[in-house]
Structure formats: C-alpha cells, structure tokens
Amino acid sequence: MLPLDDIAAGLGLLFTVEALAYLVFGLIGGFVVGVLPGFSGANAAALVLPFSIGLSTEVALILMAGIYAGASFAGAVPAILANVPGTAGAAATALDGYPMARQGRAELAIGIARMSSCLGGVLAGVVVLAVIGPLGGLAMNFGARELFVVALFGLTIIAAVIGDSFRKGMIAALLGLLIAAMSASPLTGQPRFTMGFLELYQDVPFVPAIIGLFAVTQMLLLARREHLLAPDIANRLEQGEQQGFRHQISEIGEGIRTTIARPVVVLRSSLIGLLLGCIPGVGTAVANFISYGEAKRRHKGDVPFGKGAPDGIIASEACDNAVTGGTMVPTMTLGIPGSATAAVMLGALYLHGVQPGPRVMATHAPEVYAVLLGLLLASILILPLGILLSTPMAKIVKVSPAVLVPTILMLCMIGAFAVRNSLFDSALALTFGLLGFFLRTRGYPVVPLVLALILGPIAEANFMRALALGNNDPRYFFGSTTALVMWGLLAATVLAQVISTMRQRRTREEVEV
C-alpha cells in the first residue's frame, strides 16, 4: 500500500521556491558536467557537497538529484553531435545518434534522446515511488548479520562490475575498508593507524575523501591535456547546435512524436534500466548496452541498427535515465549506493546527521519521497530546459583545461575546508586525489574504494554486533534464510568473476602468443 501521507509530505517539501530553484540549478549544473567528456554527475555532486551543509537535508539531496538527472541526459548531446559520449551512459547513444547526425538529422536525434530520457526517468520514478515504501519495510527486518552480509555483498558486486578486473576492484574495495578503519575502534576507542592525527579519530572524514577521489583526481588527470576535445570535434559540436531555434523546435517535435510512436521500446528499455539500476554498481554504461542489445535483437524497422535507427537512441536514453531512478532503491532502503553519484548523495545524508540504511525510510520518509519526486520532476524538466540550453551547452566543451583545472582545484580545496573549517581536510582531499590518480593510472577503479569508505564503518559495527549477539560463534552469520541467500549470492558473484577473469586472461594470452 502506498504511504500517501509520506508522499504528500514529500510533495510539500519539494514544492517550495528554494527546493525548486536548487533543482533547476542542479539540472543546469548536470547539463554542464554531462557535456564535458570525462566528467560525471559524481564530480559535480562531490564539488557542491560541502557547500550543501547550509541547506536542509532534502534541498541538498534535491540539488544532487538535479545534477544526477541533468548529467545523465546531457552526455547524449556530444555523443550524437560528435561521437564523443559526455558520460559512460551515453556510449550506446552514439552508436545510432551519431550516424543520424551525419545524415543531417542531429536535432531529430537529440529530440528522440530528450523525450526518451524524459519518459525513462518518469516511468522509473513512478515505479520507484510505488515500491520503495514496502521495500523499506522489508529492509527494516534486517538485523546486524544481514546488514553485514549486505554490505559485503554490495562491495563484492561493485568490485565485480566496475573496472577492468575483479581483482583490481576487490583491491580498491579492501583498501577502502582499511582506510575507513584508520580511526578509533568503535568498540574500544583505541586508535588504529591514525598516525597521531586527532582529526582521524572519528572515522576518516568523508567529504574530503569524496572531493579528492572524484574531483581532484579528475583534475590531475585532465591537467596534462591541452584541450577537452580535439578542436575540429569541438567546432563540429558547436556548428551542429547552431541551426536556429525554429528549426530546432520542429525537429525536436518530430523526435517527440517518433519516441511516443514506439511505446514498447520505451517501456522495455525503462524496465531494463530500472531493474539493473537496483543492483549496486552496475551503472548506466552496462545497463544501456544491455538495453541497446535487446532492442537490436527485436528490431524489425527499416533503418538498421548502427545506421541511425531511432530505436537504438530510445533504448539507450530511456534506460539511462531509468537507471538513475533504480539506483535510488538500494541507496535509500539499504544505505548501499547504486552508483557513484548516489554515493555522494549518501555522503550528503551523513553530512546532515542522517545515518543511511534501512531506518532512513522510517525516520526520514518525507525527505526520501521529496528526493524521488525531485528526480521525477527533473526528468520532466529535461525537455524544456534541454531545448533552451542546448546551444550554450555545446559551447562548454571549448573551455580550456588550463582554465578549468586551477579553478576547480581551488574550489576543491575551499570545499574540503568548509565543512569543519579545517585545512587538514584540504590536505586530506589532496592526498585522496593523489591516491585516486595513482589508482586510475594503474587501471584500478575508485568507485569501490569510495563505497568501501561508506560501507566500512557499517560493516564493522554490524560485524561486531552480530558477533556479540552470536556469542562469538561464527555460525550465527549463517543463521537466517536472508543471510544464507545473501551468502549464496556473494559466493556466486565471486565464483562467476574468478571464472570470467581466468577465461579472459587465457583468451588474451592466446591472442598475444
């Protein structure tokens, strides 16, 4: 049954001038970072995280929801116009969007992408609104042992699906667990590898870690480049967006009609995105390619896939924004972030003194519904705002890294400082930035590390609690059906990854030899 009171309270929180203004601000910010290749919603959300401390919990989360939805859509624009996906999720969009643009129908492709994003986001948002209450109720039955196994499972599956190898993902996750343990023990208060820094006694500060691993790392990687995009591609992108407003409107109108005429593709792609989004760490790139592949398998239209088929763009974009809604399910009900941006949103919850996890739905349901409704509204606003802002969005890619890097690094340092008025936190952000830089240059993903920083303290606290409840008997961890199912899933994930890694290595070595 729908918790209508909580939804109504969420609507009340969303429909205030402040919340709506921040939602639009977040959407525009998301459009900007989504267009920039290499940037993601997580980068922008990490940057605004410390400054959101002055906002109420729901407004801070609504701001990030706007960034999330905006970035999810905007990545499609450079993918269609220049074959350069702004975000990983837009990679599948380029497969048919770019050929359509080369046929002189770029605005039609963007219109299809806008409408598909809008419909995917709205459909997923409505389903999530309906199911998150009952799912939150189920999660309330989880005890310490279940929460410990869920945290382990979340980390394992994220390590498995992100990056180029399970082993590297697991190393990043375990490194994150250890860094999270560099604090006073939650049971005895004894300091563990804090190196004499009093600032580390109360858990590793989360905000500097997020700023460092997402924003500083990205800037250090970007510093070596002279241009965000090759000049010829940037010019092509800008020219493609300068065909006049009336032309845009007519083409976009056709794009909307084209999308609405394919309800099955929209529904199927949104469903795939929603379901895969619920699995922590799967991410939009994987989900979009699955959705694209499914649409290709069932395609019977005149235009073949890869040559500008509208179904290809719909499959990728509807799925992309549906994933955004899906990631909110594990994030809000279990406290396990479904994506990097959702991890930053969890950071915002911490920052506002809200402990993420199953109890969030019991203690802060109106705020959760306000965020979900904000995502839904953001999906609708993509349509008009996307039309208005498409020309300025295309100009953003011409910004030079020489200007971008110092500006963002300065903001990172003051952002890390602002939360606790501590320069130690600025230095910590820089340290995490360097760590992230080393990890990424050696092919290690940073997302499992970030999630381990969140889940580490949760895993440890529940591990110790479960151990005490079971009188130090390890069999207690296998003493419930839910725990057994989670252990089974965990073992299956590890086994599948080990087999897959061995097969990949054998194939690679055979090719090399």
């Binding site: 180029d164 110092p406 340092m413």
Partner: protein, 173 residues
C-alpha cells in the same frame, strides 16, 4: 574501451612499472598491521581480516603480472582518461606526459601550505595566476582579469553567500 598500455619500456623497468603500486599496497598493509599489533582483539580483528584479504589479492595480482611479463604479454589497462598516450621510455618520457599534472599538484600543495600564513584570498590569487600560467594561459589580457575575476567571485560567494570563514590575510578576509 580497453586500450593497450603504451609504455615502451622493457625488461626490469617494465616489470617495475607493473608492480610498483602493488608494492605500495603491501607497504601500507604491513604498516597498518604493525601499528595495530599491540591492540586488543576487538579493535584489531576487523582490520586484520581486511589486511589478510588485501595481501592475498595483491599477491595474486603480482604473480599474474610477473607471469604475464615473463611471457611477454602486453599490459592492458581500461581507463581512457588515465591513458598516458605514446611517450618515450623511462623517467624523461613520463615527465613529458605528466609534467603539467606534477605542476598542478605541487602548486596546490603550496597553496594549502600558504593559506594559514598568507590568507585564503591572497594565496588563491597567487595560486591561480601561477597555475593558469603554467598550464598555458600566457596572454596578460586574459590571465590577469581571469585571476582577479575568480578571486573576487570566490570572495563574494564564500563570504556573502555561503558564510565560509576562511583564514584571513593582510588584505582580505
């Protein structure tokens, strides 16, 4: 997209380029283990379990890396953004690729060091000016207004909008 790592170094330096980060992980794990060696079981068991798992995964990776190196299998990395591109082998080649990154990092360290000594806004003006210049903004008509504009904008934003209390210097704050 999977891209073949393009380091052309061979022999021991190639092996070291594959293993250095694993060695750092092991050093971190050893330092952590030693630092908690005198703690009670309740405080130390959880990090010890994580250290053991980390060491197992790292050793497994190192073994795989050494075997691949001995068979002459090229290293494959997957992060377009992190790819260094073609460069000359050795330190000089790496420096050519990453010198701007080193400049950005070193100047940011200096910036954080200078904030409590010279004040936030004064330090950020000098930092922005230096880093813009080092990364390639050389024309004074762009460099100076850009630095000044960003410093003033950050002053207005942090002092008036966000009320962030930053370390004050001789001029502002």
């Amino acid at each position: 997209m999977i891209v073949e790592h393009s380091s052309q170094a061979t022999g021991v330096s190639d092996l070291l380029s594959r293993l250095w980060i694993s060695i750092l992980f092991l050093v971190f794990a050893a330092a952590f283990w030693i630092s908690i060696s005198d703690l009670s079981g309740e405080a130390a068991n959880y990090p010890r379990a994580a250290i053991i798992l980390l060491v197992l995964f790292v050793l497994y990776g190192m073994t795989a890396d050494v075997l691949s190196w001995r068979r002459g299998v090229a290293e494959v990395l997957e992060d377009d953004e992190a790819q260094a591109g073609e460069h000359e082998p050795g330190i000089r080649g790496l420096w050519a690729v990453w010198q701007r990154t080193v400049a950005a990092f070193v100047l940011t360290v200096a910036f954080v060091w200078a904030i409590p000594r010279a004040g936030y806004y004064e330090s950020s003006a000098v930092y922005l000016l230096a880093l813009f210049f080092l990364l390639g903004v050389h024309r004074p008509v762009i460099l100076l207004p850009l630095t000044l504009g960003l410093t003033v904008a950050s002053y207005l934003l942090f002092e008036l909008v966000f009320n962030v209390v930053v370390p004050s210097g001789p001029l502002l704050g």
